[in-house]
């Protein structure tokens, strides 16, 4: 059960130096969160669902070229642009810093999708379908969303809740980095990442590995970017959405000839 006096504040750090663009997080998310199978048709119509996606950028010109990868998921912004535009209060910020989507309140106006600068909110254009056998692998802890509503990354809140209950049952301790990793209560993408490029933690916990990055980025906001001691930055920082996800810059040991 969430602690009312001292709530968690969940956050994530994504180290782009470690990301190889392998898409393991995308597959893990798809399996964990009952996301329908994306067919070729869905992609061609640009209506594929992915709660976390790997954005691919090319740098340079062939043959002097490099691929860059960036996993993008819901940033769980503190000043989330999607929240004030919802006419039915289907998306709101909870006390644990999560941007929550309540599926049963959603009426499918798609204002939030249009107002999200990161394009991480997905609309269910179709009734969710799986091949008959795959229905047996649906995660019972996650709602199967119906057609006509918006959905997005939840930071795998079902795992966080399970973690809170199980840790509480074993003696009322508080979830921290160690207990999250020990019980596999990390979000599915974090758990699946083979290079540990994704880190998840509680910013209210002083010992968490992600806190130094958030402290550094918060201490040097906006134009103070060059004074930062870590490689941290936020996506579209100038929009002041204050995401709970921080990216760490890639260090290029072998830069392209002639720079970029």
């Amino acid at each position: 059960m969430p602690n009312a006096e001292h709530p968690h504040k969940w956050g994530m750090v994504i180290d782009l130096d470690k990301c190889t663009g392998c898409q393991a997080c995308v597959v893990a998310c798809q399996a964990e969160n009952n996301i329908p199978i994306n067919t070729k048709d869905y992609f061609l119509q640009r209506r594929a669902y992915e709660w976390i996606r790997i954005e691919r950028y090319w740098e340079g010109e062939y043959p002097n070229i490099k691929a860059r990868f960036m996993p993008v998921l819901c940033q769980h912004c503190e000043n989330a642009p999607c929240e004030p535009v919802c006419p039915v209060y289907a998306t709101y910020h909870n006390e644990e810093g999560l941007n929550v989507q309540v599926y049963n309140r959603c009426v499918g106006t798609r204002y939030c999708i249009n107002n999200c600068p990161y394009q991480v909110r997905m609309f269910n254009y179709w009734h969710p379908n799986w091949p008959a056998r795959l229905e047996n692998q649906l995660n019972p802890d996650v709602t199967v969303r119906t057609r006509g509503i918006t959905e997005k990354c939840t930071f795998c809140v079902q795992r966080i809740r399970r973690g809170e209950i199980e840790v509480e049952a074993r003696g009322g301790q508080r979830l921290n980095d160690e207990r999250i990793a020990g019980g596999n209560y990390d979000p599915a993408c974090v758990q699946a990442c083979p290079t540990n490029a994704l880190m998840f933690g509680d910013l209210e916990d002083q010992g968490t590995a992600i806190k130094p990055y958030f402290d550094d980025v918060n201490a040097h906001p906006g134009h103070g970017e060059h004074d930062r001691e870590t490689r941290g930055y936020r996506l579209l920082e100038e929009m002041n959405t204050r995401p709970s996800v921080i990216y760490l810059k890639k260090i290029d040991q072998y830069p392209l000839k002639g720079g970029h």
């Binding site: 059960m1 969430p2 009312a4 709101y92 909870n94 006390e95 644990e96 999560l98 929550v100 309540v102 599926y103 049963n104 802890d141 996650v142 709602t143 199967v144 939840t154 809140v157 079902q158 809740r161 209950i165 509480e168 049952a169």
Partner: protein, 213 residues
């Protein structure tokens, strides 16, 4: 004019009837009765006290996961056969029990021999987008220091906690040990309002993601 008035009245009446039925008809929420079970299972005989002719089997002997996980779980046929390997037509005569009882027991044994599950009808069902964790609620009612609470469900009398597991189950499910056929009880609606009342009463978070994920 008179016809227009009649049409409007008919449409309004139709909408009201639809709303009324949809709001009150489902068994755990409204007035409807639970569906008939494929095999008559008297909880009175299994869970009822010995003085009343039952066998006082604890709830969690069959609903094994109730104290350790989200779902209470309906037992596998093997759990029935633990006892009914002995307690069946070959050892019990119709002098002691009604013939239908032996027929029902034989049907359980047949299912076991066929290696098929029994398709029990679900009585207490929350909607698909709700996740209810039995373990946490049983733990709240059966553990911790002594305290008195008034839960906004059932008869709403003050309760002295902690209680036994069986008493904890009956807070929401009613006195199942005295039910020939499990039915939702008066005042034990499983509507969201009941959940929220109880969570507010006991200073538990009412964040949406507690139940909806």
């Amino acid at each position: 004019m008179a016809i227009a008035g009649l049409v409007v009245t008919a449409i309004v009446a139709f909408i009201l009837v639809v709303l009324f039925i949809s709001w009150f008809s489902n068994p755990p929420f409204g007035w409807g009765n639970a569906p008939a079970q494929p095999i008559g299972f008297p909880h009175t005989v299994h869970a009822g006290s010995v003085e009343e002719g039952g066998h006082a089997i604890q709830c969690e002997f069959c609903h094994r996961n109730v104290t350790s996980g989200a779902a209470a779980t309906v037992p596998a046929v093997e759990v029935c056969v633990i006892c009914h390997k002995q307690v069946n037509g070959s050892n019990v005569t119709t002098d002691a029990v009604a013939p239908e009882t032996l027929i029902n027991i034989q049907r359980v044994l047949d299912k076991h021999a066929e290696e098929r599950p029994i398709d029990w009808e679900r009585v207490h069902r929350v909607p698909d987008h709700v996740r209810f964790v039995h373990e946490a609620h049983i733990r709240f009612l059966t553990q911790g220091e002594e305290r008195t609470v008034t839960l906004p469900i059932g008869d709403e009398k003050p309760m002295n906690l902690p209680v036994t597991t069986a008493e904890a189950c009956s807070v929401c499910h009613g006195d199942v040990a005295h039910m020939e056929e499990v039915q939702p009880q008066d005042g034990q609606s499983l509507k969201m309002g009941t959940c929220l009342d109880c969570h507010r009463e006991n200073n538990v978070s009412t964040d949406c993601t507690i139940c909806h994920k």
